[in-house]
Amino acid sequence: MADLTIAFDPGSSLSKIFYTLKSFHPELLLMEPEVAQVPKASLVAYESSCVGSPAAENSAWVEYKGQYRAVGFLAQDRFYADLKLSEPKFELALYKTLALVGALAQKNSLSNGASIRLGVLLPYGEYEDRKLFEQLVTEALAGFRFRGVERSFELESFLCRPEGFGLISRGRAPGSSLKERKIAVVMIGYRNISLLIMDRGMISQGVTEDLGFNKLVGCVQRLVSGQKALKLAQAISKAGSKISTKALAHLVRVQDPGLRDTELSQIRSAVATAREEYWISLFSWLRSRIPSDVDEMIFAGGTAHYLSRELNSLLPHTEKIWCNELEAQINRNFLADVSRNGLEFRLTDNYGLFYYLCGTSERMTTHA
């Protein structure tokens, strides 16, 4: 077993990391998704202005090949980074990987030279880039700086899988062989939607489209003014299918008590319109790509759960799998984090990958 085993899902709305040290002891680390290019002088100024000892993941910045990047909370809070939704995920994932490894090494007092087993989920559309990503990350982990301190680790093994893999491998009930089934895995995240079709154990189709929850959020932003994307996304998700006004109330911006109800009603109406528009696009996309003879459909991602009522009506005779057992395990084992962050449904894929990674360690090809 490597000194540090990491399953990393570089989500566009949150970086989700399950990890363990050599003594098996699973932990969850969450980091904000932002990455910002920052001048060295700003980072030096930041370090000298730090009061106390902020948690490593909240003050993460890395230097690699003369480039400086703030990652996570620091990038979001101090350097006002945007989500860079148009950039390839794996490119940002390189800096996020360096930052999370640096933070975990600091938190756990790992010294240079420690071995790392890394598993990463990428959208199917970027899965083809896995060799390039492996090359980049191997080279980068061998020599970078985290918060100004030189770090160097050995990538003992690397496993990159498309989003949805954790669910196929650990989200299905035991006893049902993949060899006998045609399965569609539908991952709907903040940035995009990935569809993976597995027919009797072989991947027959994989496709990723920019049709994530941010489309719905963008539609609401066009209909009502002055709302920030992530805050809006959280409120829409919390408001659920019945669009509870209570969950949207904090989005109201006007101060005049007489106008507050009017603005709230406008926001609610915008969410209703956006939700309907979004579902129509999603429905049409899914129906044209999922073969009607699939035996089961596995759903994952926060957006899928947001639209569970609609998705359950797709192909009425196909078995629908929502990975409830995996989700219950996460809720039980990481109760405080899940409760604090409202994370139900968003961790299952990576949790599945983490257990796959630990379970198959003996059989995995050692990284050359």
């Binding site: 002891h25 491998s169 060899k179 109760l335 405080a336 379970g359 059989r363």
Partner: protein
């Protein structure tokens, strides 16, 4: 739908725990988690390993794994309660939230021990063996081939 088993529970209105029953009742729309999960998790963490021992048919290794899982879940509940009631410092000082895999001396000063997840270390001897059996599932080899 699979056949369901009915399990009812009634207590006197004078019971000191009536607040708990009201809190968990379907009338309470503001529960932190789904009601059924909250009840099942609590019962499982406290009593499931003993129920398995009572029923027979489980190997010693299986029972130990179930007990270890239950202890892990109870530890998580300790952390949750500590955070909910602001008792992190108090319990941390008593070592109840500490990470048993670290000694105080090897903790980095920047580690926030109270917010990082802290669970009991898995016993290595038969723990690893059990872990492997839990983690290696029947479709893994097929998946490795499919994603090569």
């Amino acid at each position: 739908m699979p056949e369901q088993v009915d399990f009812r529970f009634q207590i006197s209105v004078n019971s000191p725990y009536i607040t708990l029953i009201k809190y968990l009742s379907p009338k309470n729309k503001f529960l932190e988690f789904p009601r059924q999960n909250m009840i099942t998790w609590a019962l499982v963490a406290f009593w499931y390993p003993l129920a398995c021992k009572w029923s027979g048919g489980f190997s010693d290794a299986d029972l130990k794994l179930k007990a270890r899982t239950a202890i892990y879940q109870l530890q998580q509940q300790i952390i949750y309660l500590a955070q909910a009631f602001g008792l992190e410092n108090e319990l941390g000082n008593q070592g109840m939230l500490g990470n048993s895999s670290h000694s105080d001396t090897d903790l980095d000063p920047n580690v926030d021990v109270y917010t990082s997840k802290s669970v009991p270390t898995h016993v290595k001897s038969d723990g690893e063996q059990n872990l492997t059996s839990v983690m290696s599932l029947e479709n893994d080899e097929l998946l490795e081939e499919a994603f090569k």
